[in-house]
Symmetry: C2
Subunit: 160 residues, 2 copies
């Protein structure tokens, strides 16, 4: 499925008219290590449980954990890289995000998505919106993030 996704993306991607509720996509993988976790945290989320494995032991996380925004950013990278092969790119207006468990050094992340809604725009005939639920899982299949996003997706051709 990841292969199909990449192929579709290279050929222009799926339009709103190609999408239907229940359709599933699977991304490639991203291997996360301590250096990446610390580099992201130093720039955007400098808290001890994201910066220092030793100091992280005495925190709620019980050890080094990636910033949730790092997990979100890697998820976006995997979606853009073929995990959600939509025409026009991935443009989100917003969504709901949750981190049910920490992302750890050594985790290999992969994103599994399912189309939940496909809605043509009432006022803009050239596009519509898609609600996509994406689960980011580690190498044990545990969900480290859920993201329900509303994306803007173009239609195939002129309306009518």
């Amino acid at each position: 499925m990841a292969g199909d996704g990449r192929a579709a993306s290279a050929s222009g991607g799926l339009t709103l008219d190609d999408l239907s509720v229940g359709q599933r996509f699977e991304s490639g993988t991203h291997a996360l290590d301590e250096a990446q976790i610390v580099a992201f945290a130093a720039q955007f989320d400098p808290q001890r449980f994201h910066l220092d494995a030793e100091a992280a032991r005495d925190t709620l996380f019980g050890g080094l954990a990636a910033s949730g925004w790092h997990t979100a950013s890697i998820t976006m990278r995997l979606l853009v890289g073929g995990g959600a092969p939509f025409a026009g790119g991935l443009i989100g207006a917003g969504g709901e995000i949750a981190w049910p468990r920490p992302t750890r050094p050594g985790d290999v992340l992969q994103v599994f998505s399912v189309v939940q809604e496909v809605t043509p725009s009432r006022f803009k005939p050239e596009r519509g919106s898609v609600t996509l639920l994406s689960e980011t899982r580690n190498q044990r299949g545990e969900v480290v993030q859920t993201l329900k996003a509303r994306l803007i997706v173009p239609r195939r051709g002129p309306a009518g």
Copy 2:
């Protein structure tokens, strides 16, 4: 207020018992430029409207715009840097995010937050949760992101 926030954070931060609905916080500022936007996008969101000002003109954005996840990450940096001076750091379980307008090169971002709910944990006497609504605004006061996050915050002392 940003000054108060930083002072409180340095001295250990506000516990659940120090927080009440309606309490407001204001972060420092972050000046965003094209180089930062492109660097983040190259790593996490490599789409033409985040990578190349020229190519971005023909897209829905009509010009270079920061990845929404970049705006979210800068918002976290501003919150951690004094914009939400809570004891124990900023630990989020998730939330709702929206980007009502693009973040652009040259924008100076600042985060304005208000406490919406303060809920002691029913089962863990040493902590509770706080719902914090954070607006990220540009130098014209326009909202580029809203984030409603549920944060885990410790209580002042032993329960009882």
